[in-house]
């Protein structure tokens, strides 16, 4: 029989206001096996923890039940507390009477009754707990960063600086990501390329960093400290080791009319191309969808002009499999498609552009050489209308996103300001729902746009944009002025909402990292563990976790890196001791468990057993590798004889909880 101690936490008034904690402690004190029961204001506080430890010693407790907040919050805390007092940490169970009781119920009697039942279930479980000892597994001291944008680059640089090898997998031919397409950055207005390209070069030159560009993750196996990742490096038909990046081929290629994705299709590139001047690695890539040689076997111009002999039409995809201790997701974002927003005439007029397209139109390396010209006729625009929140903050999210894309207010202010500065003869209108400028020097920046640069900020939405007679007729409402507005604009700029990169969803499945309904990666805790995924060993960097600007991205990238460094600096990790365990005497050796194990943790051996009447029987029985088992329990249900059980969540423990709840 266990000697169980029950500790009921008030959590200040968080629990105590709706749950009669005294009554709970008293009721649970009467349960069989409970030898001590008390309540306290903050169990997680220093004095609360000391109280638990004292009770363990004084009452020789063999099990502890803490009625408090969610085990996701403080289970680890209390386990440590008890361990220090000499109790096995797995003899502790938490009854969640805050998140799952006091916070969701208003009636004190109901909430108190429920708290008692939850406490009873925890006591019933503790009765069947057994001390568990965690094993260890080694850590592979190499990290993988998926995505080579500013988030990925920064994370990789920080990890590499700490002395750990790190690979960046980038699906495009070059690293750099979205930031390479941006002209200036807010609120300082320094040039994006000027601050990004040195980092790209650093990454390329850092001996601890291996950039695997034009590649995608195909398969992820293993677990924290021991991931095995299969990467498909797509054939670029150019030998990276030989190509000097001279660019001759990209000038001679006869296939000229291919929309240049770097400039968002505002100009063209060749079938063999280097995305932009500072591309890293600076290596040409052949686009197999357009290359005549690859499609018909006739051409070969690039091969002829390449003095380095780098062109290889026979190149094949390369499959790389490497072991990693940690994985950082930095897959970033992309603007949403403007297709559903027909009212803004995006598909009808080339002069309706997205903000990112405007970045290219204002960039010295862009299609217009940095002069702002109307895409339709190359004329200088005089009236520009910016539409905010296109696809952001949509009700019901029928065609947009329900969330705020966060960065649009600031970059629109930046665009408006830059245009007014460079072309004082322009009129710039910004239609907004709200202007959101939380951030250092952000509001000042926005006010400068309004006050110094005379940008017309109008609260209201644009109803319709109609191309007519070379102009864009903009119909809008001015909510503060209470009037309808008609503006003849030369260009309309849409602040498109941003969404996670499309590659994130399948990646999340491979990584078993969870996502929210918008396909942003979920963090382990929104406040306390913002750069970790709930899956151990998977970390989050940048906009894959939620919309954010460059400084925030860089900050998070650094934070993710520091978490990775913390992990990689350990030689071994403590394993989860709540692993599956077969009862060999009952095991049929039928292989059902093995078939459902996602980790390959189960193997079989032929073992001799004592049979009846002094005979020996050799039977095939399952063996679980506790370092590999992650404790999901799939095998326990697949096992028909019930030979396989899960430590810490055993059949009997769960049945006892069921019984306690239903009684």
């Amino acid at each position: 029989m266990q000697r169980i101690g029950v500790f009921v936490c008030w959590c200040g008034s968080n629990i105590a206001a709706t749950v009669d904690v005294k009554q709970v402690a008293e009721a649970l004190g009467k349960e069989p096996g409970v030898v001590f029961s008390t309540d306290y204001q903050y169990m997680c506080s220093q004095s609360g923890q000391e109280m638990i430890q004292e009770a363990i010693r004084e009452h020789r407790l063999t099990g502890v039940v803490i009625c408090s907040c969610s085990p996701r919050m403080h289970e680890a805390t209390f386990r440590k507390t008890c361990q220090k007092a000499g109790l096995n940490p797995y003899m502790v169970e938490i009854a969640n009477i805050r998140e799952q009781c006091s916070w969701i119920h208003k009636d004190k009697i109901t909430a108190t009754e429920k708290a008692v039942i939850l406490g009873r279930a925890a006591i019933a479980k503790v009765h069947l707990n057994a001390p568990l000892t965690a094993g260890t597994s080694p850590v592979v001291k190499r990290a993988l960063v998926i995505g080579g944008g500013i988030a990925g680059i920064q994370t990789a640089l920080d990890i590499a600086d700490a002395g750990f090898p790190v690979d960046i997998v980038e699906k495009k031919p070059t690293i750099g990501g979205k930031m390479t397409q941006i002209d200036k950055t807010f609120p300082t207005l320094d040039c994006a390329a000027c601050i990004l390209t040195p980092k790209m070069v650093d990454a390329a030159q850092n001996e601890n960093i291996d950039i695997i560009s034009y590649a995608q993750v195909e398969k992820v196996q293993g677990f924290v400290g021991n991931f095995s990742v299969t990467i498909r490096k797509k054939a670029r038909y150019v030998d990276e080791t030989k190509c000097t990046g001279c660019g001759l081929c990209t000038e001679k290629c006869p296939q000229k009319k291919i929309p240049n994705e770097f400039n968002l299709g505002l100009d063209n590139r060749r079938a063999i191309y280097i995305p932009f001047a500072q591309a890293t690695p600076k290596v040409a890539t052949i686009d197999p969808n357009y290359c005549t040689m690859l499609k018909t076997g006739k051409c070969g111009v690039c091969s002829k002009v390449c003095t380095a002999g780098a062109i290889n039409y026979k190149q094949e995809d390369e499959i790389i499999t490497r072991e990693y201790g940690a994985i950082v997701v930095a897959t970033g974002f992309e603007p949403i498609s403007m297709e559903p927003f027909d009212e803004f005439a995006y598909s009808q007029s080339p002069d309706v552009v997205t903000s990112l397209e405007l970045e290219r139109l204002m960039n010295a390396a862009g299609p217009t050489g940095g002069t702002l010209l109307r895409p339709s006729d190359g004329a200088h625009p005089h009236t520009l209308v910016f539409v905010q929140c296109v696809g952001s903050r949509c009700d019901g999210a029928q065609k947009g996103k329900s969330y705020c894309s966060k960065i649009c207010c600031m970059y629109t202010a930046k665009h408006a300001m830059l245009i007014r500065e460079k072309y004082p003869d322009t009129e710039v209108y910004v239609f907004y729902i709200d202007v959101r400028t939380p951030g250092k020097n952000f509001d000042e920046f926005y006010r400068r746009a309004v006050e110094e640069y005379g940008v017309h900020y109008i609260k209201g939405m644009v109803g319709k944009v109609t191309p007519q007679d070379g102009k864009l007729k903009v119909q809008a409402s001015d909510l503060l002025g209470g009037r309808q507005m008609h503006i003849d604009a030369d260009m309309v700029v849409l602040a498109a909402a941003i969404e996670p990169d499309k590659s994130a969803r399948p990646l999340a499945t491979m990584l078993t990292a969870s996502m929210d309904t918008n396909d942003f990666f979920t963090e382990a805790h929104p406040k306390l563990r913002p750069v970790e995924s709930p899956t151990a060993g998977i970390f989050l960097s940048g906009a894959c976790q939620g919309p954010k600007d460059i400084p925030e991205t860089v900050a998070q990238a650094g934070a993710a890196a520091s978490k990775v460094i913390g992990l990689l600096s350990k030689n071994s990790l403590t394993c989860n001791p709540c692993t599956a365990k077969p009862d060999e005497l009952m095991c049929n050796g039928c292989s059902s468990c093995e078939k459902v194990c996602p980790y390959g943790a189960i193997t079989y051996v032929d073992k001799p057993f004592r049979g009846p009447n002094r005979t020996t029987l050799t039977r095939r029985v399952a063996q679980v590798n506790p370092a590999v088992c992650q404790g999901c329990g799939a095998c326990t249900v697949a096992c028909p004889s019930g030979a396989m059980d899960l430590q810490g969540f055993s059949n009997k423990q769960i049945l006892a909880e069921v019984d306690a709840i239903c009684r």
Binding site: K30, P32, N613, R663
Partner: protein, 333 residues
């Protein structure tokens, strides 16, 4: 001997059921079973019930007591069911004999009060056989299927049911029934019993040799080889009497009940000792040794089998006491 017209059998049932529960062998869900009679319920056409009549005295599951725990107090409750008087009609001679076999186990001091209670409240009306099954071998065990015994014996002959009280209980029962004509039962044709294929199985040999002779017989190995270790033979058997006592925690109290157990099961009597009968051979041997040797040794040579033939029909692999008895006698399979 009293006479009741068969076409008014329902009236007899109604009269019997007037004051107490009446069980008759009736078809329920396709199975002949002793069932509380309700108006209109007909007797089965089957020779005998699927399960034996022992169910009514020794049910498969029976509550014994309950323990209620409040805080640290334990309260014991006697929760046995109140038993009221009841009548069983249509018990065959074999089952009727099984009661006396069970009585010797359960009513010997200290008497099993749960069983005794039911026996005391019961009046058994037997029914003589006239169309036996080929699997019947009660005659080989000295039972006369045409003189079935019980508190009241009944015979069906022509259009009449003949009733004869054998005990005071039986007389008291008949007295309460509407007045009946008296008469003698005509002699029926009993020749079919002489044609029964198993009528000559010799059960007398088991008292002639020492217990260990049978225990160590070489035939057990082969006889038991295909035994599945299920309990169908024990559970349909009218004389099997083993039970297990189990506790069930309802969450608010612990209910102690007993339920039939089978010596054919691998965990039979495991609660007492870890390595009881390690293989099916020992378990199988136990069942037949009990019926053919141990029971007779303890009860003046009376074999613990009544020849009802249920196990002959129910065993999934057609192994049974007749085959065992023959093989043991011959000393080979």
């Amino acid at each position: 001997m009293k006479i009741w017209k068969l076409d008014r059998l329902q009236d007899l049932f109604a009269a019997l059921a007037g004051e107490r529960t009446l069980y008759i062998p009736a078809d329920v869900a396709g199975q002949a079973k002793f069932t509380p009679w309700e108006p209109g319920m007909e007797m089965t056409k089957a020779l005998n019930t699927n399960r034996s009549a022992k169910d009514l005295f020794f049910p498969q599951v029976e509550d014994l007591a309950a323990f209620k725990i409040t805080g640290r107090q334990i309260q014991v409750e006697d929760n046995r069911e109140d038993v009221e008087d009841f009548v069983i009609f249509g018990v065959r001679a074999c089952d009727a004999r099984s009661f006396s076999i069970l009585d010797k186990v359960f009513l010997e001091e200290p008497a099993d009060t749960y069983y005794k209670n039911r026996r005391d409240h019961a009046t058994v009306m037997t029914l003589a056989c006239s169309r036996p099954e080929a699997t019947c071998f009660c005659t080989a065990l000295g039972i006369d299927p045409q003189a079935p015994g019980g508190d009241v014996s009944c015979w069906v002959e022509g259009e009449n049911l003949y009733l004869q009280a054998n005990t005071q209980k039986g007389e008291a029962l008949l007295e309460k029934l509407p007045a009946m004509e008296e008469g003698e039962k005509p002699q029926g044709d009993a020749s079919v019993f002489d044609r029964l294929p198993l009528k000559d199985v010799d059960f007398s040999v088991f008292s002639e040799k020492a217990l260990l002779h049978w225990f160590n017989s070489p035939v057990w190995e082969e006889l038991s080889r295909s035994c599945l270790g299920c309990g169908s033979c024990t559970f349909v058997c009218p004389t099997c009497q083993c039970y297990d006592v189990k506790d069930f925690d309802t969450g608010t109290k612990v209910k102690r009940f007993r339920c039939w157990d089978s010596c054919m099961y691998s965990d039979f009597t495991m609660m007492a000792h870890g390595t009881n009968r390690p293989t099916q051979k020992e378990r199988f041997r136990q069942r037949f040794m009990h019926k053919l040797v141990y029971y007779p040794n303890n009860h003046d040579g009376e074999i613990g089998c009544v020849g009802c033939g249920r196990c002959l029909r129910k065993c999934p692999i057609s192994m049974n006491i007749v085959k065992v008895a023959k093989a043991l006698k011959e000393g080979s399979v």
